[in-house]
């Protein structure tokens, strides 16, 4: 890990979006848009170059302030971080263009809506910081940057339901991060370091580690809206401005998942047991079924999509039991399925990020066109807005996991890991999840094919909005194509592929 060469790219991944965020503050609404767009483009470029450099070198690091851990903070751009940063950049640039067009074309937005730009660029920097950080406390600060700017974005519409949902979200976020920080305090007290790498070497089984594990896991689960701490998500994502819903559902919840995954695989392995994994897995299975069922029973499009997030995040939780080895299993044997489980985690994250943001953007188009997002707004969509309907179809297919989409690949890997590890009992949950997901996806498509009432409004929608939704849908569908390359890049460095051996920690086969 530390043998990666030092580079300035990790620093720029945080500094560039923030520079532009500060720039946007100086402009009025129109200028904010242009400077914000410039910032998005610049950040995307930096992300692309940084990822290219990481691919070339295997990974990059940056010692902030020139100090070595444990005194200083290390930024680590390893393959896993690179993939998440890439996901953020692709979603981010598409949503940025959508937002530019959206904010300009909508005239019923409050005056503060142009604050979208500084808040979003700060959020982007915070996310990049989260993926790069190798330091527990710095992660806390990054979590807060992300959390506060996310809630700030969530309440931009200024409408009471959004404010209410935003406050609930904020309280959950604060509680979650305090819980996380308590865990950090315990670990620091016990091991005298905040650096993940040093900590993973120092950590020992025992009550402190277990308690920190529980606190941090619960805190991060709340922030990621993992079942049963998901209650805040549907009202929040259902009431935000469409580009914000897209960003929050695609990226923000993934940030805390990323930290959780890293902590479990790198730090807490010694204190984890097979049963702990099963418990998390059960939460995941319950989320898949409960969330999908709730989505099926919603009347408003955005609420369907929001509840679907709860379900799709459940698949991510189901990865954890597959990473933890049952007592007596050899790591070499387990490499068969741990690698699949990691692939499932990454691909589910990616495909959900793209598919869900595409769906929210498409929902935004529908709201503009019809004036609302009740079921009637979908009628005859295929004829009225074929591009949006196609985007919903593609994204929906990926969400359902039908071949040969990105979502299919994720579910394939998840099922494969479940069956190969002998934990076949996750298969019915995956199966039921796909079945119910198909239910609500095709409920939307069914309405889209049904003939419309003559009184359904069809106001003009800027073309760019539809293109952004389609772009993300296409991305979600076709990320299966570079899978081979992505996975071999990921496999080049821990923690990807490592199995969690209870009592020992993460072990690479």
């Amino acid at each position: 890990m530390t043998d990666f060469p030092t580079s300035i790219w990790p620093a720029l991944l945080v500094a560039v979006p923030i520079t532009f965020a500060l720039g946007t503050v100086f402009f009025a609404a129109a200028g904010r848009m242009w400077s914000g767009l410039a910032g998005s483009v610049a950040t995307t470029l930096v992300s692309a170059l940084a990822i290219a450099a990481a691919v070339r070198e295997g990974g990059l690091i940056h010692h902030l302030g020139g100090w070595e851990p444990p005194l200083g903070i290390l930024l680590r751009l390893d393959p896993l971080a690179a993939v998440f940063i890439g996901m953020t950049a692709l979603t981010g640039i598409a949503v940025s263009f959508y937002a530019a067009s959206y904010l300009r074309s909508q005239d019923d937005l409050p005056r503060g809506a142009s604050l979208f730009w500084p808040l979003w660029l700060m959020l982007w920097a915070g996310l990049n910081g989260m993926f790069l950080s190798n330091d527990l406390f710095n992660l806390f600060v990054a979590i807060e940057v992300v959390g506060i700017s996310a809630v700030g974005l969530a309440v931009l519409s200024g409408k009471p339901p959004a404010l209410m949902a935003g406050l609930r979200y904020l309280l959950v976020a604060i509680t979650g991060s305090m819980s996380y920080l308590f865990g950090v305090a315990l670990l620091f007290g016990a091991y005298g370091t905040l650096d993940l790498t040093l900590l993973s070497a120092a950590v020992e089984p025992g009550a402190t580690t277990v308690f920190a594990l529980v606190l941090m896991t619960l805190g991060l689960m709340a922030k990621s809206a993992f079942f049963p701490l998901h209650f805040w998500l549907p009202p929040a994502h259902g009431s935000e401005l469409p580009p914000v819903s897209a960003l929050l559902s695609a990226l923000v919840v993934k940030g805390s998942f990323y930290i959780l995954l890293r902590l479990w695989a790198e730090v807490f392995g010694v204190s984890l047991t097979f049963a702990a994994g099963q418990l998390i897995g059960v939460c995941g299975a319950a989320a898949v079924i409960w969330g999908s069922w709730q989505a099926l029973n919603q009347d408003r499009l955005k609420l369907i999509i929001a509840h679907s997030s709860v379900a799709q995040l459940g698949y991510l939780l189901m990865v954890f039991p597959l990473l933890i080895l049952a007592p007596g299993t050899a790591v070499a044997v387990a490499s068969d399925w741990t690698s699949s489980a990691w692939t499932a985690a990454v691909y589910q994250t990616l495909s959900h990020a793209f598919a869900k943001s595409s769906l929210f953007l498409a929902a935004g188009v529908i709201v503009i066109a019809a004036g609302h997002d009740c079921r009637e707004s979908l009628l005859d969509l295929v004829a009225r807005r074929p591009m949006t309907a196609f985007a919903i179809g593609l994204a929906g297919i990926s969400l359902t996991g039908l071949p040969p989409s990105g979502g299919f690949f994720a579910k394939w890997m998840l099922l494969k890991a479940a069956i190969a590890s002998g934990q076949w009992w996750w298969a019915p949950a995956v199966l039921a999840g796909s079945f119910l997901t198909a239910g609500y996806v095709f409920m939307i498509l069914r309405l889209a094919f049904a003939p419309g009432n003559s009184d359904t409004e069809n106001r003009p929608v800027p073309r760019g909005l539809e293109s952004a939704a389609l772009l993300l849908a296409v991305a979600s569908f076709f990320i299966i194509v570079p899978a081979e390359a992505v996975i071999s890049f990921l496999e080049s460095s821990a923690p990807f592929g490592s199995a969690i051996v209870p009592g020992e920690g993460g072990v690479l086969p």
């Binding site: 295929v382 359902t400 039908l402 071949p403 040969p404 069956i419 199966l431 796909s434 069914r446 899978a483």
Partner: protein
């Protein structure tokens, strides 16, 4: 890779690309769309014929492409796949002609023909799939491509039918998915025909392999409409006639039936499957479905619904033939893939013609229709006789081989099932034939029937039905000819039982 290696892919592209272009066309570009449709369909037939000739000459075809880790997209050509691909290609050409005539002037034709092409792409994809994963991909793709066709009319009835169709097919797809993954974990990427791979793994994983067999059977059984998974088929007959033809004869149900054939013959191998007594449950289910479908068909007044239940029944002939081991049964099963297809498509075309020309949907409205539509009803009659199993129509050949095979395998009860079924077939098809030819038109209908017309209906509608009826007859009369479906089926079956 020589050009010939790309041929399997070209077969797919010949319908995929026209389909994609059609989506991009404007609604009113009728001429271009028609050219694309027919061009694609003709090209597909030519390509299949080319591949067939090359295959005959000893050429092998393998197109492999690693889509993602674990997922190798593989197209292979073998006799069985080619057989099914040929059926799809020929019937697609006929159905395209029919659909162009049927939907003349209807709205949303761009969408219709786009998905129509996707549908056939999927079904030829299923035919040419080299491994289980590729088969699964196309199997699901078929579901997606047919859904818009089922709900095409957008009426409440159509939309509800679409919902039922989806619940069944997605459910089946999910089960198949789990089974395919399970098979992959145990056996790696299973290529069709490599039955020794599974046989070699049998010892250690007996229970698992049995479970997987039935999971996969349930997965493909949904599309093959085996009881109790048949519920979607009668409901989705609300779709336009060409779609029904496609669903019932070419693409969907055939994909299911073909799946069963592949599963038993090319994944597990017929010897292994019968030695593990996996086939008995299948035989019993199939036999039950045959009788059940026929009985239900008796009580339908709606023509298309009667035909739909008849399909449920007829499809299980294939499953039954597969479930009874032996060369003759297998021949009967495989040849019935084609025979059922050409006969049933004839009947749906005929029903569509009647509905399109006179607006009749009920059996009870058909009195005297044969006089106004002699060609259509003659074709229908040929197909009906075939379904009943009267010589010299194709259906007789299938039933004959199935019965011989049953005796061979020592399961005479199968023959009883076939006989009962034939009786029932006669009981629900003959009344239609009788009404059409021998009943006087009712008063209300007389007026309509006397409308002036040179042809009984549009040429685009009439030609396909006559052609497919001709196929049905020819397949029966020339069953022994060197290039008849029966000959091919027999070759395929014999190869299965080579030591």
């Amino acid at each position: 890779m020589t050009l010939q290696q790309w041929l399997p892919l070209l077969i797919l592209i010949s319908s995929l690309v026209p389909g994609c272009i059609i989506f991009l066309l404007r609604e009113e570009q009728v001429a271009l769309r028609t050219v694309l449709n027919l061009g694609g369909a003709v090209a597909k037939v030519v390509l299949v014929a080319w591949v067939f000739l090359a295959y005959r000459a000893g050429e092998t075809f393998a197109f492999d492409f690693a889509l993602a880790p674990d997922l190798t997209f593989s197209l292979r050509v073998d006799q069985l796949g080619l057989f099914f691909a040929g059926l799809s290609a020929v019937l697609w050409l006929v159905t395209t002609v029919y659909a162009i005539g049927y939907l003349e002037g209807a709205p949303h034709r761009r969408r219709f023909f786009g998905f129509f092409s996707m549908c056939v792409t999927a079904s030829t994809g299923i035919a040419l799939s080299g491994n289980v994963v590729t088969f699964f991909v196309f199997y699901e793709f078929l579901t997606l491509a047919t859904y818009p066709l089922v709900v095409h009319r957008g009426t409440e009835k159509a939309v509800n039918a679409g919902r039922t169709y989806l619940w069944y097919t997605i459910g089946g797809g999910s089960v198949l998915f789990v089974a395919v993954v399970g098979l992959f974990v145990i056996a790696g990427p299973v290529y069709f025909g490599d039955t020794h791979v599974i046989a070699g793994l049998m010892e250690e994983n007996r229970t698992m392999m049995t479970v997987l067999f039935f999971l996969m059977l349930a997965g493909v059984g949904v599309k093959a409409a085996i009881f109790p998974l048949h519920g979607w088929l009668p409901v989705s007959m609300v779709a336009p006639a060409p779609v029904s033809a496609l669903l019932h004869a070419v693409a969907v149900v055939k994909a299911g039936a073909f799946g069963i054939v592949r599963l038993v013959y090319d994944v597990y191998g017929v010897e292994l499957a019968s030695s593990m007594s996996l086939l008995t449950p299948l035989a019993v289910l199939a036999a039950f479905t045959i009788i059940y479908g026929s009985v239900r068909a008796l009580f339908q007044d709606d023509i298309k619904k009667r035909l739909a239940f008849s399909t449920v029944s007829q499809l299980s002939y294939i499953a039954l033939g597969v479930a009874v081991p032996g060369v003759l049964s297998s021949t009967g099963a495989i040849v019935h893939l084609v025979h059922q297809g050409i006969m049933k498509i004839t009947m749906f075309f005929a029903a569509g013609n009647i509905a399109e020309t006179y607006g009749f949907h009920k059996v009870s409205q058909l009195n005297g229709i044969g006089r106004r539509m002699p060609w259509t009803m003659a074709s229908f009659t040929v197909a009906a006789f075939g379904m009943i199993g009267l010589p010299p129509v194709a259906g007789f050949v299938s039933k004959w081989y199935l019965s011989l095979g049953a005796f061979d395998a020592g399961s005479p009860w199968v023959v009883v099932v076939l006989l009962v079924s034939s009786g029932l077939n006669a009981a629900y098809f003959l009344p239609i034939v009788y009404r059409a030819w021998f009943c006087e038109p009712d008063g209300a209908e007389v007026h309509k029937l006397c409308g002036p017309a040179n042809l009984e209906t549009r040429a685009f509608l009439l030609a396909p039905v006559v052609i497919t009826a001709g196929f049905s007859l020819a397949a029966g009369i020339f069953a022994a000819a060197p290039n008849s479906p029966l000959t091919f089926a027999r070759q395929i079956a014999e190869r299965l039982y080579l030591p």
